[in-house]
Protein backbone atom coordinates (compact mmCIF):
# COMPACT_ATOMS: atom_id res chain seq x y z
CA UNK A 1 0.00 0.00 0.00
CA UNK A 2 1.44 3.38 -0.99
CA UNK A 3 1.22 6.49 1.18
CA UNK A 4 -1.37 7.94 -1.20
CA UNK A 5 -3.52 4.83 -0.88
CA UNK A 6 -3.05 5.04 2.87
CA UNK A 7 -4.23 8.66 2.86
CA UNK A 8 -7.39 7.73 0.95
CA UNK A 9 -8.11 4.77 3.21
CA UNK A 10 -7.60 6.86 6.36
CA UNK A 11 -9.91 9.55 5.04
CA UNK A 12 -12.58 6.92 4.52
CA UNK A 13 -12.11 5.46 8.01
CA UNK A 14 -11.31 8.43 10.22
CA UNK A 15 -14.88 9.23 11.34
CA UNK A 16 -15.36 5.60 12.30
CA UNK A 17 -12.06 5.62 14.19
CA UNK A 18 -13.07 8.77 16.01
CA UNK A 19 -16.50 7.42 17.00
CA UNK A 20 -14.88 4.27 18.34
CA UNK A 21 -12.29 6.18 20.35
CA UNK A 22 -14.80 8.73 21.60
CA UNK A 23 -17.09 6.07 23.03
CA UNK A 24 -14.17 4.17 24.46
CA UNK A 25 -12.49 7.14 26.11
CA UNK A 26 -15.43 9.49 26.64
CA UNK A 27 -13.74 12.72 25.64
CA UNK A 28 -13.26 14.55 22.36
CA UNK A 29 -9.68 15.52 23.15
CA UNK A 30 -8.64 12.01 24.17
CA UNK A 31 -10.38 10.51 21.16
CA UNK A 32 -8.59 12.91 18.82
CA UNK A 33 -5.26 12.05 20.43
CA UNK A 34 -5.95 8.33 20.04
CA UNK A 35 -6.86 8.76 16.36
CA UNK A 36 -3.76 10.91 15.78
CA UNK A 37 -1.55 8.29 17.39
CA UNK A 38 -3.22 5.53 15.39
CA UNK A 39 -2.85 7.29 12.07
CA UNK A 40 0.79 8.06 12.89
CA UNK A 41 1.55 4.48 13.92
CA UNK A 42 -0.26 3.20 10.85
CA UNK A 43 1.90 5.43 8.67
CA UNK A 44 5.05 4.21 10.42
CA UNK A 45 4.03 0.58 10.24
CA UNK A 46 2.73 0.66 6.69
CA UNK A 47 5.52 -1.58 5.47
CA UNK A 48 4.38 -4.27 7.92
CA UNK A 49 0.99 -4.49 6.23
CA UNK A 50 1.19 -7.37 3.80
CA UNK A 51 -2.50 -7.78 3.04
CA UNK A 52 -4.16 -4.46 2.19
CA UNK A 53 -7.59 -6.11 2.26
CA UNK A 54 -7.18 -6.34 6.03
CA UNK A 55 -6.19 -2.70 6.34
CA UNK A 56 -9.32 -1.64 8.26
CA UNK A 57 -8.92 -4.50 10.74
CA UNK A 58 -5.28 -3.65 11.21
CA UNK A 59 -5.88 0.05 11.79
CA UNK A 60 -8.78 -0.47 14.19
CA UNK A 61 -6.63 -2.87 16.20
CA UNK A 62 -3.97 -0.19 16.53
CA UNK A 63 -6.69 2.22 17.68
CA UNK A 64 -8.00 -0.22 20.27
CA UNK A 65 -4.46 -0.69 21.59
CA UNK A 66 -4.12 3.07 21.88
CA UNK A 67 -7.45 3.37 23.65
CA UNK A 68 -6.54 0.58 26.06
CA UNK A 69 -3.25 2.30 26.81
CA UNK A 70 -5.02 5.57 27.52
CA UNK A 71 -7.58 3.78 29.69
CA UNK A 72 -4.79 2.25 31.73
CA UNK A 73 -3.34 5.71 32.16
CA UNK A 74 -6.73 7.03 33.31
CA UNK A 75 -7.07 4.11 35.66
CA UNK A 76 -3.86 5.11 37.37
CA UNK A 77 -5.20 8.63 37.83
CA UNK A 78 -8.74 7.82 38.93
CA UNK A 79 -9.89 6.04 42.08
CA UNK A 80 -10.21 2.28 41.61
CA UNK A 81 -13.85 2.05 42.54
CA UNK A 82 -14.74 4.07 39.45
CA UNK A 83 -13.84 0.99 37.42
CA UNK A 84 -15.45 -1.72 39.50
CA UNK A 85 -17.38 -4.20 37.39
CA UNK A 86 -20.92 -2.82 37.40
CA UNK A 87 -24.26 -4.61 37.23
CA UNK A 88 -27.27 -3.58 35.18
CA UNK A 89 -28.83 -1.70 38.09
CA UNK A 90 -25.67 0.39 38.55
CA UNK A 91 -25.68 1.26 34.88
CA UNK A 92 -29.36 2.22 34.72
CA UNK A 93 -28.70 5.50 36.43
CA UNK A 94 -25.99 6.52 33.96
CA UNK A 95 -26.34 8.07 30.52
CA UNK A 96 -25.77 5.45 27.80
CA UNK A 97 -22.43 6.96 26.79
CA UNK A 98 -21.11 6.71 30.34
CA UNK A 99 -22.65 3.28 30.90
CA UNK A 100 -20.75 1.92 27.90
CA UNK A 101 -17.51 3.25 29.32
CA UNK A 102 -18.23 1.55 32.64
CA UNK A 103 -18.60 -1.87 31.06
CA UNK A 104 -15.69 -4.30 31.37
CA UNK A 105 -13.36 -3.59 28.39
CA UNK A 106 -14.07 -6.89 26.65
CA UNK A 107 -17.78 -6.04 26.59
CA UNK A 108 -17.49 -2.36 25.76
CA UNK A 109 -15.22 -3.15 22.80
CA UNK A 110 -17.79 -5.47 21.29
CA UNK A 111 -20.73 -3.13 21.78
CA UNK A 112 -18.84 -0.12 20.40
CA UNK A 113 -17.58 -1.96 17.34
CA UNK A 114 -20.95 -3.59 16.65
CA UNK A 115 -23.42 -0.82 17.31
CA UNK A 116 -21.52 2.43 16.89
CA UNK A 117 -18.66 1.73 14.50
CA UNK A 118 -20.82 -0.39 12.21
CA UNK A 119 -18.85 -3.62 12.09
CA UNK A 120 -20.62 -6.93 11.65
CA UNK A 121 -20.28 -9.65 14.25
CA UNK A 122 -17.74 -11.52 12.11
CA UNK A 123 -15.69 -8.35 11.55
CA UNK A 124 -15.85 -7.54 15.26
CA UNK A 125 -14.62 -11.03 16.11
CA UNK A 126 -11.76 -10.70 13.61
CA UNK A 127 -10.75 -7.27 14.93
CA UNK A 128 -10.69 -8.54 18.50
CA UNK A 129 -9.11 -11.83 17.44
CA UNK A 130 -11.76 -13.87 19.22
CA UNK A 131 -14.10 -16.57 17.96
CA UNK A 132 -17.44 -15.32 16.61
CA UNK A 133 -19.25 -17.29 19.34
CA UNK A 134 -17.33 -15.41 22.02
CA UNK A 135 -18.13 -12.10 20.34
CA UNK A 136 -21.81 -13.08 20.26
CA UNK A 137 -21.79 -14.00 23.95
CA UNK A 138 -20.10 -10.73 24.89
CA UNK A 139 -22.53 -8.80 22.74
CA UNK A 140 -25.45 -10.48 24.45
CA UNK A 141 -24.02 -9.74 27.91
CA UNK A 142 -23.23 -6.14 27.07
CA UNK A 143 -26.70 -5.45 25.70
CA UNK A 144 -28.28 -7.08 28.74
CA UNK A 145 -26.20 -4.94 31.08
CA UNK A 146 -27.07 -1.80 29.15
CA UNK A 147 -30.71 -2.91 28.86
CA UNK A 148 -30.54 -2.17 25.14
CA UNK A 149 -32.78 -4.09 22.79
CA UNK A 150 -31.19 -3.85 19.38
CA UNK A 151 -31.87 -6.16 16.50
CA UNK A 152 -29.10 -7.49 14.24
CA UNK A 153 -30.16 -5.13 11.44
CA UNK A 154 -29.42 -2.05 13.52
CA UNK A 155 -26.04 -3.35 14.46
CA UNK A 156 -25.09 -4.12 10.93
CA UNK A 157 -26.23 -0.80 9.56
Amino acid sequence: MTQEEYALAVEHLRARLYRTAFLYLGSEALALDAVDETVYKGLRGLRGLRQPEFFATWLIRILLNECSREKKHQRRLEPLDTFDCPNADDLDALPLKEAIRRLPPELSQVVILRYFSGYTLAETARILDIPAGTAATRQRRALALLRLELCEKEGDA
Partner: protein, 461 residues
Amino acid sequence: MNRNEEYSALLRELEDTPPALEKTLPRARARLRRRRVLQPAASLAGLACCFVLLVNFCAPVAYACSRVPLLRELAAAVTFSPSLSRAVDNEYVQPLELTQTQCGITAQVEYLLVDQKQVNIFYRLDTESGGQLREEPRILSLDDSSPAPCSYGLNSWDVPNGQLRSMTVDFVAEDVPDALLLELDVWQDPEEDAPTLTEEGPADQQVGEDVWLELPPDPEPLTTFRFELHFDPTFTASGRQIELGETLTLDGQTFTFTQLEIYPTHLRLDLEESEENTAWLTQLYFTVEGGGQVYQPISNGVTATGSGETHTMTSYRAESPYFEKADSLTIRITGAEWLDKSHERTLVDLAGGKADFLPEGVSFYEAKQVGSGWKVSFLARQRKESYVHQIFRTEYYDPEGNQMEYHSWSSGGLPMDAPDDSFLVTLYLEDYPYDQVWLCPQYSRQWQAPEAICFTVDLTQ
Protein backbone atom coordinates in the same frame (compact mmCIF):
# COMPACT_ATOMS: atom_id res chain seq x y z
CA MET B 1 -36.06 8.80 27.14
CA ASN B 2 -35.59 5.02 27.20
CA ARG B 3 -32.32 3.26 26.37
CA ASN B 4 -33.16 2.69 22.73
CA GLU B 5 -34.11 6.35 22.21
CA GLU B 6 -30.89 7.28 23.95
CA TYR B 7 -29.02 5.00 21.56
CA SER B 8 -30.54 6.72 18.52
CA ALA B 9 -29.72 10.14 19.98
CA LEU B 10 -26.14 9.08 20.63
CA LEU B 11 -25.75 7.84 17.07
CA ARG B 12 -26.96 11.22 15.80
CA GLU B 13 -24.58 13.03 18.15
CA LEU B 14 -21.68 10.97 16.84
CA GLU B 15 -22.40 11.91 13.24
CA ASP B 16 -20.70 15.24 13.93
CA THR B 17 -16.95 14.94 14.17
CA PRO B 18 -14.61 17.73 15.32
CA PRO B 19 -12.95 19.78 12.54
CA ALA B 20 -9.52 18.88 13.97
CA LEU B 21 -10.08 15.32 12.79
CA GLU B 22 -9.57 16.40 9.20
CA LYS B 23 -5.96 17.31 9.93
CA THR B 24 -5.05 13.98 11.51
CA LEU B 25 -3.14 12.72 8.48
CA PRO B 26 -1.09 15.93 7.92
CA ARG B 27 -0.20 15.83 11.62
CA ALA B 28 0.96 12.22 11.32
CA ARG B 29 3.06 13.03 8.26
CA ALA B 30 4.67 16.04 9.94
CA ARG B 31 5.43 13.96 13.02
CA LEU B 32 7.07 11.26 10.94
CA ARG B 33 9.30 13.86 9.24
CA ARG B 34 10.27 15.34 12.63
CA ARG B 35 11.05 11.89 13.99
CA ARG B 36 13.48 11.22 11.16
CA VAL B 37 15.34 14.46 11.86
CA LEU B 38 15.31 14.17 15.64
CA GLN B 39 16.27 10.55 16.00
CA PRO B 40 20.10 11.01 16.04
CA ALA B 41 19.81 13.89 18.51
CA ALA B 42 17.48 11.90 20.71
CA SER B 43 19.93 9.00 20.78
CA LEU B 44 22.67 11.28 22.11
CA ALA B 45 20.32 12.70 24.72
CA GLY B 46 19.33 9.18 25.65
CA LEU B 47 22.93 8.15 26.12
CA ALA B 48 23.56 11.10 28.41
CA CYS B 49 20.41 10.30 30.32
CA CYS B 50 21.40 6.63 30.66
CA PHE B 51 24.77 7.72 32.01
CA VAL B 52 23.12 9.80 34.71
CA LEU B 53 20.74 6.98 35.58
CA LEU B 54 23.55 4.45 35.69
CA VAL B 55 25.60 6.59 38.03
CA ASN B 56 22.65 7.10 40.33
CA PHE B 57 20.73 3.88 40.10
CA CYS B 58 23.14 1.17 38.93
CA ALA B 59 22.33 -1.97 40.93
CA PRO B 60 25.67 -2.48 42.73
CA VAL B 61 25.88 1.19 43.71
CA ALA B 62 22.30 1.31 44.92
CA TYR B 63 22.77 -2.04 46.65
CA ALA B 64 25.81 -0.75 48.45
CA CYS B 65 23.85 2.29 49.60
CA SER B 66 20.66 0.55 50.61
CA ARG B 67 19.01 -2.79 49.96
CA VAL B 68 15.53 -1.39 50.39
CA PRO B 69 14.80 -0.04 46.88
CA LEU B 70 16.01 -3.25 45.25
CA LEU B 71 14.02 -5.52 47.51
CA ARG B 72 11.00 -3.33 46.84
CA GLU B 73 11.37 -4.06 43.14
CA LEU B 74 11.83 -7.73 43.90
CA ALA B 75 8.74 -7.65 46.10
CA ALA B 76 6.80 -6.24 43.16
CA ALA B 77 8.09 -9.06 40.96
CA VAL B 78 6.86 -11.84 43.27
CA THR B 79 3.31 -10.69 43.88
CA PHE B 80 2.10 -13.71 41.89
CA SER B 81 3.18 -15.93 44.81
CA PRO B 82 2.22 -15.35 48.46
CA SER B 83 5.06 -17.69 49.55
CA LEU B 84 7.72 -15.84 47.57
CA SER B 85 6.32 -12.54 48.82
CA ARG B 86 6.73 -13.72 52.41
CA ALA B 87 10.26 -14.90 51.62
CA VAL B 88 11.19 -11.47 50.25
CA ASP B 89 9.53 -9.75 53.23
CA ASN B 90 11.80 -11.86 55.42
CA GLU B 91 14.85 -10.96 53.25
CA TYR B 92 15.23 -14.62 52.34
CA VAL B 93 17.08 -13.62 49.16
CA GLN B 94 20.45 -14.58 47.74
CA PRO B 95 21.67 -11.55 45.77
CA LEU B 96 23.88 -12.10 42.72
CA GLU B 97 25.66 -9.74 40.39
CA LEU B 98 26.15 -11.68 37.19
CA THR B 99 26.17 -9.54 34.05
CA GLN B 100 26.96 -10.41 30.44
CA THR B 101 26.63 -8.36 27.26
CA GLN B 102 26.42 -10.01 23.84
CA CYS B 103 25.13 -8.72 20.50
CA GLY B 104 24.09 -5.42 22.12
CA ILE B 105 21.95 -7.24 24.71
CA THR B 106 22.74 -7.20 28.40
CA ALA B 107 21.58 -10.04 30.64
CA GLN B 108 21.86 -9.66 34.37
CA VAL B 109 21.02 -12.29 36.98
CA GLU B 110 20.31 -10.43 40.21
CA TYR B 111 18.55 -12.55 42.82
CA LEU B 112 17.81 -16.13 43.74
CA LEU B 113 15.11 -17.44 46.03
CA VAL B 114 16.31 -20.97 46.60
CA ASP B 115 15.56 -23.76 49.04
CA GLN B 116 15.92 -27.51 49.18
CA LYS B 117 13.46 -28.16 46.33
CA GLN B 118 13.02 -25.01 44.27
CA VAL B 119 15.03 -22.22 42.66
CA ASN B 120 13.47 -18.92 41.60
CA ILE B 121 15.76 -16.89 39.36
CA PHE B 122 15.30 -13.14 38.89
CA TYR B 123 17.04 -11.48 35.97
CA ARG B 124 16.84 -8.66 33.45
CA LEU B 125 17.32 -8.44 29.71
CA ASP B 126 17.94 -5.08 28.13
CA THR B 127 19.13 -3.50 24.92
CA GLU B 128 19.55 0.02 23.69
CA SER B 129 18.36 -0.78 20.20
CA GLY B 130 14.67 -1.16 21.11
CA GLY B 131 12.52 -4.14 20.22
CA GLN B 132 11.03 -6.44 22.83
CA LEU B 133 13.41 -9.15 24.01
CA ARG B 134 12.11 -12.64 24.71
CA GLU B 135 13.91 -15.66 26.01
CA GLU B 136 13.78 -19.39 26.40
CA PRO B 137 15.70 -20.90 29.30
CA ARG B 138 17.46 -24.24 29.76
CA ILE B 139 18.62 -25.60 33.09
CA LEU B 140 21.64 -27.86 32.90
CA SER B 141 23.92 -29.67 35.31
CA LEU B 142 27.09 -27.76 35.86
CA ASP B 143 29.24 -30.90 35.69
CA ASP B 144 28.46 -32.14 32.20
CA SER B 145 25.92 -29.68 30.75
CA SER B 146 23.30 -32.44 30.62
CA PRO B 147 19.66 -31.51 31.36
CA ALA B 148 19.18 -31.18 35.12
CA PRO B 149 16.52 -33.49 36.67
CA CYS B 150 13.98 -30.73 37.15
CA SER B 151 11.08 -28.94 35.50
CA TYR B 152 11.19 -25.21 34.86
CA GLY B 153 9.22 -22.41 33.33
CA LEU B 154 9.03 -18.64 33.00
CA ASN B 155 6.72 -16.90 35.46
CA SER B 156 5.73 -14.10 33.08
CA TRP B 157 5.82 -13.11 29.45
CA ASP B 158 6.20 -9.79 27.67
CA VAL B 159 8.06 -8.19 30.55
CA PRO B 160 9.35 -4.86 29.19
CA ASN B 161 13.06 -4.70 28.53
CA GLY B 162 15.04 -3.67 31.58
CA GLN B 163 12.45 -4.88 34.09
CA LEU B 164 12.84 -7.82 36.43
CA ARG B 165 11.85 -11.19 34.94
CA SER B 166 11.67 -14.49 36.74
CA MET B 167 11.56 -18.23 36.26
CA THR B 168 10.99 -21.16 38.61
CA VAL B 169 13.04 -24.35 38.62
CA ASP B 170 11.37 -27.22 40.43
CA PHE B 171 12.90 -30.44 41.74
CA VAL B 172 10.51 -33.27 42.57
CA ALA B 173 12.49 -36.29 43.78
CA GLU B 174 15.98 -34.83 44.01
CA ASP B 175 17.20 -31.86 46.01
CA VAL B 176 18.54 -28.64 44.52
CA PRO B 177 22.25 -29.22 43.83
CA ASP B 178 25.07 -26.87 44.85
CA ALA B 179 25.13 -25.23 41.44
CA LEU B 180 23.34 -25.19 38.08
CA LEU B 181 23.99 -23.81 34.62
CA LEU B 182 21.37 -21.41 33.25
CA GLU B 183 21.30 -20.98 29.47
CA LEU B 184 19.10 -18.26 28.03
CA ASP B 185 18.36 -18.16 24.30
CA VAL B 186 17.34 -14.60 23.47
CA TRP B 187 15.36 -13.24 20.53
CA GLN B 188 14.55 -9.64 19.71
CA ASP B 189 11.15 -8.88 18.22
CA PRO B 190 10.79 -6.00 15.75
CA GLU B 191 10.40 -2.60 17.39
CA GLU B 192 7.11 -1.77 15.67
CA ASP B 193 4.35 -2.10 18.18
CA ALA B 194 1.52 -1.88 15.69
CA PRO B 195 -0.05 -5.26 15.03
CA THR B 196 0.97 -6.77 11.73
CA LEU B 197 -0.91 -9.29 9.68
CA THR B 198 0.81 -12.35 8.37
CA GLU B 199 0.54 -13.57 4.81
CA GLU B 200 -2.17 -15.96 5.97
CA GLY B 201 -4.38 -13.26 7.47
CA PRO B 202 -5.62 -12.81 11.01
CA ALA B 203 -5.07 -15.56 13.52
CA ASP B 204 -8.64 -16.81 13.51
CA GLN B 205 -8.45 -17.41 9.78
CA GLN B 206 -5.30 -19.45 10.06
CA VAL B 207 -7.04 -22.30 11.86
CA GLY B 208 -9.61 -23.03 9.25
CA GLU B 209 -11.78 -26.04 8.62
CA ASP B 210 -9.43 -27.64 6.17
CA VAL B 211 -5.95 -26.85 7.49
CA TRP B 212 -4.01 -27.99 10.52
CA LEU B 213 -2.35 -25.41 12.66
CA GLU B 214 1.34 -25.53 11.96
CA LEU B 215 3.47 -22.98 13.70
CA PRO B 216 6.48 -21.80 11.75
CA PRO B 217 9.78 -22.86 13.30
CA ASP B 218 11.29 -20.29 15.63
CA PRO B 219 14.25 -18.49 14.07
CA GLU B 220 17.71 -19.03 15.52
CA PRO B 221 18.19 -17.02 18.72
CA LEU B 222 20.13 -13.80 18.46
CA THR B 223 22.42 -14.92 21.23
CA THR B 224 22.70 -17.39 24.10
CA PHE B 225 23.81 -16.42 27.59
CA ARG B 226 25.32 -18.93 29.99
CA PHE B 227 25.33 -18.24 33.72
CA GLU B 228 26.75 -20.47 36.41
CA LEU B 229 24.49 -20.27 39.44
CA HIS B 230 26.14 -21.27 42.72
CA PHE B 231 23.74 -21.58 45.63
CA ASP B 232 24.42 -20.55 49.18
CA PRO B 233 24.25 -23.81 51.20
CA THR B 234 22.29 -22.07 53.95
CA PHE B 235 19.46 -21.61 51.48
CA THR B 236 19.62 -25.04 49.82
CA ALA B 237 19.38 -26.66 53.25
CA SER B 238 16.19 -24.80 54.09
CA GLY B 239 13.12 -26.93 54.63
CA ARG B 240 11.70 -29.49 56.98
CA GLN B 241 9.81 -32.75 56.60
CA ILE B 242 7.21 -33.93 59.11
CA GLU B 243 6.03 -37.55 59.11
CA LEU B 244 2.24 -37.87 59.22
CA GLY B 245 0.94 -41.46 58.93
CA GLU B 246 -2.69 -40.31 58.75
CA THR B 247 -5.02 -42.71 56.93
CA LEU B 248 -8.31 -41.30 55.66
CA THR B 249 -11.22 -42.45 53.57
CA LEU B 250 -12.38 -39.90 51.03
CA ASP B 251 -15.56 -40.72 49.12
CA GLY B 252 -14.94 -44.42 49.74
CA GLN B 253 -11.28 -44.31 48.59
CA THR B 254 -8.46 -44.82 51.09
CA PHE B 255 -5.28 -42.79 51.30
CA THR B 256 -2.46 -42.48 53.78
CA PHE B 257 -1.04 -39.00 54.16
CA THR B 258 2.64 -39.73 54.65
CA GLN B 259 4.54 -36.46 54.91
CA LEU B 260 4.26 -32.70 55.07
CA GLU B 261 7.22 -30.88 53.55
CA ILE B 262 7.57 -27.19 54.41
CA TYR B 263 9.99 -25.13 52.34
CA PRO B 264 10.32 -21.35 52.18
CA THR B 265 8.93 -21.30 48.62
CA HIS B 266 6.07 -23.80 48.98
CA LEU B 267 4.53 -26.66 50.98
CA ARG B 268 4.06 -30.27 49.84
CA LEU B 269 1.43 -32.66 51.15
CA ASP B 270 2.37 -36.23 50.21
CA LEU B 271 0.12 -39.28 50.20
CA GLU B 272 -0.06 -42.93 49.19
CA GLU B 273 -3.11 -44.60 47.67
CA SER B 274 -4.57 -47.97 48.57
CA GLU B 275 -4.43 -50.57 45.82
CA GLU B 276 -8.03 -51.43 46.66
CA ASN B 277 -9.27 -48.02 45.51
CA THR B 278 -11.63 -47.99 42.55
CA ALA B 279 -10.57 -44.51 41.44
CA TRP B 280 -7.37 -42.56 41.02
CA LEU B 281 -7.07 -39.22 42.80
CA THR B 282 -6.35 -36.61 40.13
CA GLN B 283 -6.93 -33.55 42.28
CA LEU B 284 -7.25 -32.89 45.99
CA TYR B 285 -9.08 -29.80 47.21
CA PHE B 286 -7.66 -28.67 50.52
CA THR B 287 -6.30 -25.81 52.57
CA VAL B 288 -3.69 -25.63 55.27
CA GLU B 289 -4.51 -23.54 58.33
CA GLY B 290 -2.36 -22.43 61.24
CA GLY B 291 -1.30 -19.38 63.24
CA GLY B 292 -4.44 -17.57 62.14
CA GLN B 293 -3.54 -17.92 58.45
CA VAL B 294 -5.02 -19.98 55.64
CA TYR B 295 -2.60 -21.31 53.04
CA GLN B 296 -4.22 -22.02 49.70
CA PRO B 297 -3.12 -24.61 47.15
CA ILE B 298 -0.64 -23.27 44.58
CA SER B 299 -2.46 -22.06 41.50
CA ASN B 300 0.52 -21.03 39.33
CA GLY B 301 3.19 -23.43 38.15
CA VAL B 302 3.43 -26.96 39.53
CA THR B 303 0.26 -27.72 41.53
CA ALA B 304 0.68 -31.47 42.08
CA THR B 305 2.92 -34.30 40.97
CA GLY B 306 2.52 -38.06 40.64
CA SER B 307 4.82 -41.02 40.48
CA GLY B 308 3.80 -41.82 36.91
CA GLU B 309 2.96 -45.41 37.88
CA THR B 310 -0.74 -44.62 38.26
CA HIS B 311 -2.91 -41.61 37.45
CA THR B 312 -3.02 -40.55 41.11
CA MET B 313 -1.31 -37.31 42.01
CA THR B 314 0.64 -38.17 45.14
CA SER B 315 2.13 -34.80 46.15
CA TYR B 316 0.13 -31.58 46.38
CA ARG B 317 1.51 -28.04 46.64
CA ALA B 318 0.26 -25.17 48.77
CA GLU B 319 1.53 -21.79 49.87
CA SER B 320 4.16 -22.03 52.57
CA PRO B 321 3.80 -21.37 56.32
CA TYR B 322 7.62 -21.50 56.64
CA PHE B 323 8.02 -17.96 57.92
CA GLU B 324 5.03 -18.00 60.27
CA LYS B 325 5.15 -19.01 63.89
CA ALA B 326 2.62 -21.80 64.39
CA ASP B 327 2.74 -24.77 66.76
CA SER B 328 0.46 -26.82 64.59
CA LEU B 329 -1.19 -26.86 61.21
CA THR B 330 -4.61 -28.19 60.27
CA ILE B 331 -5.06 -29.88 56.92
CA ARG B 332 -8.66 -29.31 55.82
CA ILE B 333 -9.79 -31.49 52.90
CA THR B 334 -12.92 -30.26 51.15
CA GLY B 335 -13.13 -32.38 48.02
CA ALA B 336 -11.43 -34.33 45.29
CA GLU B 337 -11.44 -35.07 41.61
CA TRP B 338 -11.50 -38.74 40.63
CA LEU B 339 -10.68 -40.75 37.56
CA ASP B 340 -12.61 -44.01 37.87
CA LYS B 341 -10.39 -46.97 37.07
CA SER B 342 -13.22 -48.36 34.94
CA HIS B 343 -13.17 -45.22 32.80
CA GLU B 344 -9.51 -44.87 32.02
CA ARG B 345 -10.45 -44.80 28.33
CA THR B 346 -13.70 -43.99 26.56
CA LEU B 347 -14.75 -44.97 23.05
CA VAL B 348 -15.89 -42.05 20.89
CA ASP B 349 -17.80 -42.84 17.72
CA LEU B 350 -16.64 -40.01 15.48
CA ALA B 351 -18.84 -40.90 12.52
CA GLY B 352 -21.91 -41.62 14.65
CA GLY B 353 -21.38 -38.58 16.88
CA LYS B 354 -21.56 -40.22 20.28
CA ALA B 355 -19.38 -41.36 23.17
CA ASP B 356 -19.98 -44.24 25.55
CA PHE B 357 -18.81 -42.36 28.64
CA LEU B 358 -17.81 -38.75 29.22
CA PRO B 359 -16.58 -36.95 32.35
CA GLU B 360 -19.15 -35.23 34.53
CA GLY B 361 -20.37 -31.98 32.96
CA VAL B 362 -19.01 -32.85 29.50
CA SER B 363 -21.13 -33.58 26.43
CA PHE B 364 -20.23 -34.52 22.89
CA TYR B 365 -20.67 -31.58 20.52
CA GLU B 366 -19.48 -32.56 17.06
CA ALA B 367 -16.81 -34.39 15.06
CA LYS B 368 -15.78 -33.26 11.60
CA GLN B 369 -13.49 -34.97 9.17
CA VAL B 370 -10.84 -32.42 8.22
CA GLY B 371 -8.32 -33.39 5.57
CA SER B 372 -6.78 -36.66 6.67
CA GLY B 373 -7.85 -36.31 10.30
CA TRP B 374 -10.68 -35.36 12.63
CA LYS B 375 -11.63 -32.29 14.57
CA VAL B 376 -13.70 -33.37 17.57
CA SER B 377 -15.40 -30.98 19.99
CA PHE B 378 -16.95 -31.32 23.42
CA LEU B 379 -18.95 -28.91 25.56
CA ALA B 380 -17.86 -28.71 29.19
CA ARG B 381 -18.96 -26.79 32.23
CA GLN B 382 -16.65 -24.10 33.61
CA ARG B 383 -15.53 -24.70 37.18
CA LYS B 384 -14.66 -21.06 37.66
CA GLU B 385 -15.86 -18.13 35.57
CA SER B 386 -13.77 -17.69 32.41
CA TYR B 387 -11.53 -20.64 33.26
CA VAL B 388 -11.22 -23.68 31.04
CA HIS B 389 -9.67 -26.98 32.00
CA GLN B 390 -8.28 -29.97 30.19
CA ILE B 391 -10.84 -32.74 29.60
CA PHE B 392 -8.68 -35.44 28.02
CA ARG B 393 -5.09 -36.51 28.38
CA THR B 394 -3.03 -35.99 25.25
CA GLU B 395 -2.65 -39.68 24.44
CA TYR B 396 -5.37 -41.53 22.52
CA TYR B 397 -5.76 -44.96 20.91
CA ASP B 398 -7.04 -46.17 17.56
CA PRO B 399 -9.41 -49.20 17.39
CA GLU B 400 -6.38 -51.46 16.92
CA GLY B 401 -4.89 -50.31 20.21
CA ASN B 402 -2.05 -48.18 18.81
CA GLN B 403 -1.20 -45.21 21.01
CA MET B 404 -0.99 -41.74 19.49
CA GLU B 405 -0.80 -38.23 20.85
CA TYR B 406 -2.59 -35.07 19.83
CA HIS B 407 -0.47 -31.96 19.79
CA SER B 408 -3.05 -29.24 19.99
CA TRP B 409 -6.38 -28.56 21.59
CA SER B 410 -8.23 -25.32 21.73
CA SER B 411 -11.13 -23.79 23.55
CA GLY B 412 -13.45 -21.15 22.19
CA GLY B 413 -16.08 -20.76 19.51
CA LEU B 414 -18.87 -21.36 22.01
CA PRO B 415 -22.12 -22.08 20.10
CA MET B 416 -24.83 -19.44 20.43
CA ASP B 417 -27.23 -21.80 22.21
CA ALA B 418 -24.64 -23.08 24.72
CA PRO B 419 -24.97 -22.06 28.38
CA ASP B 420 -22.84 -19.04 29.33
CA ASP B 421 -20.97 -21.03 31.96
CA SER B 422 -19.76 -23.63 29.45
CA PHE B 423 -16.80 -23.81 27.10
CA LEU B 424 -16.06 -25.70 23.92
CA VAL B 425 -12.97 -27.88 23.72
CA THR B 426 -11.69 -29.03 20.34
CA LEU B 427 -9.10 -31.75 19.81
CA TYR B 428 -7.28 -32.19 16.51
CA LEU B 429 -6.55 -35.81 15.62
CA GLU B 430 -4.10 -35.49 12.75
CA ASP B 431 -3.71 -38.18 10.08
CA TYR B 432 -6.39 -40.29 11.69
CA PRO B 433 -8.24 -42.50 9.18
CA TYR B 434 -10.53 -44.34 11.65
CA ASP B 435 -14.06 -43.30 12.57
CA GLN B 436 -13.74 -44.41 16.19
CA VAL B 437 -11.20 -43.32 18.77
CA TRP B 438 -10.40 -44.20 22.39
CA LEU B 439 -9.87 -40.98 24.31
CA CYS B 440 -8.41 -40.88 27.83
CA PRO B 441 -10.42 -38.68 30.21
CA GLN B 442 -8.42 -36.50 32.57
CA TYR B 443 -11.06 -37.10 35.24
CA SER B 444 -14.43 -38.76 35.72
CA ARG B 445 -16.11 -36.67 38.37
CA GLN B 446 -15.62 -34.26 41.22
CA TRP B 447 -16.57 -34.93 44.81
CA GLN B 448 -17.31 -32.41 47.51
CA ALA B 449 -17.02 -33.56 51.11
CA PRO B 450 -20.31 -32.99 52.96
CA GLU B 451 -18.14 -31.71 55.78
CA ALA B 452 -14.46 -30.83 55.63
CA ILE B 453 -12.21 -33.71 56.72
CA CYS B 454 -9.46 -32.38 58.96
CA PHE B 455 -6.35 -33.56 60.72
CA THR B 456 -3.74 -31.72 62.74
CA VAL B 457 0.02 -31.70 62.29
CA ASP B 458 2.16 -30.97 65.34
CA LEU B 459 5.06 -28.68 64.44
CA THR B 460 6.71 -28.69 67.87
CA GLN B 461 8.14 -32.21 67.52
